[in-house]
């Protein structure tokens, strides 16, 4: 379990993936490559993503859960894929925002 809050950053322990929380609060089971993610900078990478969680993450993409309560943004890409409480997170297709500057 990690504690989600907007702005919190997490890293994978089995690939190079790093994410930042854009939306969502509270304790959550956030995994990458099948292993729990940990606060960014708190662990060395060890091992490999499990075969069923190795589709990879894409830099700058937003990942969400089905009911839109959690959104994380990938700040470093890796080979593992993200899941929330065991359910794979999907790349969110966002409608373009009106740029404000």
């Amino acid at each position: 379990m990690v504690e989600l809050r907007p702005g919190a950053r997490f890293q994978s322990t089995v690939c190079a993936t790093e994410v930042i929380v854009v939306k969502g609060t509270g304790p959550t089971e956030l995994t990458c490559g099948g292993e729990p993610m940990v606060p960014a900078g708190s662990a060395e990478r060890a091992g490999e993503p499990s075969a069923d969680a190795s589709e990879g993450t894409l830099l700058g993409k937003r990942y969400g859960d089905g009911d839109e309560t959690v959104e994380v943004l990938c700040t470093k890409a890796g080979e593992g894929s993200l899941a929330l409480a065991g359910v794979a997170m999907a790349v969110k297709v966002t409608k373009p925002l009106p740029a404000s500057d």
């Binding site: 930042i20 009106p98 740029a99």
Partner: protein
């Protein structure tokens, strides 16, 4: 730094700032930021003071400061020598990056190490050890930027923006690497305006080339847009008005521009309507925000502009003067003086809440209330569709006989007259009423009579709003970031006994 690192990873070869052929690429920007970070660490500087015009030195300084663990402090180089040196003293000890003129003016300030802009660009590290990639502070609570607010209602205060506020703003408003390789953003707002900070971050993160314009002048702006095939622009309303005038004079339109955002002061519907014509290919966004809120909190985007400009319904068309709707992740509430939420259409104080809302001053601490809301000290109302209308600063409220009235609504009423180009309303002392409404009006021929204008206000608002004093002037005083200096008008009239209205 996370933002730049992402951009460099995905778009390292793209030009981040400068001419398309010879500008500084994202990779190059990383390299220079690393050098500057090393220099800041070697000199143990906690602040980087930037004194100069828009240029490539801005993103180098902004990201270099973040990497080196220093706050980026752009100061107003247009201040008089005494005021500038006083600000620099408040910011020191610091590394000051200045053009040659600024360097001379800052010389001798205690605790200030001065490096000239061109020297910094040529040799960012200055002989210090360059910082290693990845070796930057990751503390989201560290101070990223200190900005001195424009101080239209008093001496400037240093607003504190932390990394988490700016990062949150970027993540909620910009899609990563979303800009096409041909896109370019002309950066003309002064570096000490929050929009300059926000624009640098947004452009780098989206992969859009920044084309800086050192000295704003409408002709130079138009020429640079043509020379560099600029596609995107951000302007304060006074700049937009001058560009529209200049294009009208030249009988030209600018076809390359696809997007114009404007904000940071009151904009007039007539200017916006003309702007839609001289930028035929552009979508327009009107942004409302404050320094303390990491810039934009509400935006009226291109679709809204097209819709309201094309409407035959006068109320819908009037929505072109609104500030649009809150950004994702930002809440806006309008409150009565007793703290309760004001109803739709009722004026009150504008409060905002969100991850990007900093609401903090260097000497005054956090101004957020216990629920995280920040009082903007602007007055306004929300309409039935959730659009925010900003009337003006609370400090500018005119209190006549116990009745509060906002200058903005009186100005809006005056501006519906076809010959009124610009208008400013403010309070002047009155023995009978406490304060009385005075207005300064810029009008073009045929110039309306004062009685015409009084009748207009009476018809659109109510008799208490009718100006007791109307002065026709050639122009109104604005500061260089487009803010109307109502204080100046007020003190001029208060100092003139002839303006005492009884």
């Amino acid at each position: 730094m996370m933002l730049l690192e992402m951009a460099a990873t995905a778009m390292g070869d793209r030009v981040a700032v400068g001419p398309s052929g010879s500008g500084i690429t994202c990779d190059d920007l990383m390299g220079r930021a690393a050098g500057l970070a090393g220099r800041l660490r070697a000199s143990r500087s906690e602040r980087l003071l930037l004194c100069g015009e828009p240029g490539a030195v801005l993103p180098v300084s902004l990201f270099g400061a973040a990497w080196g663990g220093a706050a980026y402090v752009p100061v107003n180089y247009r201040l008089g020598d005494d005021d500038l040196r006083a600000l620099a003293e408040r910011a020191s000890p610091a590394l000051a990056v200045a053009d040659s003129d600024g360097a001379a003016r800052l010389a001798g300030v205690d605790g200030l190490e001065i490096v000239e802009r061109d020297g910094l660009l040529a040799d960012p590290s200055g002989g210090a050890e360059t910082a290693d990639p990845g070796d930057w502070p990751a503390d989201p609570d560290a101070t990223a930027v200190l900005l001195y607010t424009s101080g239209t209602s008093g001496p400037p205060k240093a607003a504190v923006l932390r990394h988490r506020h700016l990062v949150s703003y970027v993540f909620s408003t910009v899609e990563f690497a979303s800009a096409g390789p041909d896109e370019a953003h002309i950066m003309a707002v002064p570096p000490y305006h929050v929009a300059s900070v926000a624009a640098q971050l947004s452009q780098v993160y989206s992969g859009r080339r920044i084309v800086p314009l050192a000295k704003f002048d409408p002709e130079a702006w138009i020429d640079l847009v043509r020379d560099e095939d600029v596609t995107h622009a951000m302007l304060v309303p006074t700049m937009l008005a001058r560009i529209v005038d200049a294009l009208d004079r030249r009988g030209e339109t600018l076809e390359t521009v696809r997007f114009v955002s404007y904000g940071g002061g009151k904009s007039h519907r007539t200017v916006v309507e003309r702007a839609l014509e001289v930028f035929p290919a552009a979508g327009f966004s009107h942004a409302y925000g404050l320094t303390e809120t990491s810039s934009t909190v509400c935006v009226m985007g291109p679709d809204d502009h097209r819709r309201w400009a094309a409407s035959d319904d006068p109320d819908e068309r009037a929505r072109l003067s609104s500030a649009g709707r809150p950004l994702p992740g930002v809440e806006v509430s309008v409150r009565s003086p007793d703290g309760t939420t004001a109803g739709t259409g009722t004026a009150g104080e504008i409060w905002v809440r969100g991850e990007q809302v900093a609401g903090e001053y260097a000497d005054g601490g956090s101004q957020l209330n216990e629920d995280g809301w920040f009082c903007t000290r602007d007055s306004g109302h929300l309409d039935e569709a959730g659009y925010l209308w900003v009337h003006g600063r609370n400090d500018d409220i005119i209190i006549r006989g116990g009745e509060n009235m906002s200058p903005g609504e009186i100005e809006d009423a005056l501006l519906t007259h076809p010959a009124v180009v610009d208008a400013a309303a403010f309070g002047v002392p009155s023995r009978e009423w406490g304060e009385e409404v005075a207005v300064c009006v810029v009008a073009r021929s045929p110039i309306p009579t004062a009685d015409d204008l009084r009748e207009l206000v009476r018809a659109r608002l109510r008799s208490s709003r009718v100006p007791a004093r109307i002065e026709f002037v050639d122009d109104l005083p604005y500061n260089d970031t487009g803010k109307l200096l109502r204080r100046e008008l007020r003190s001029r009239h208060a100092a003139d006994p002839g303006s005492q209205v009884d």
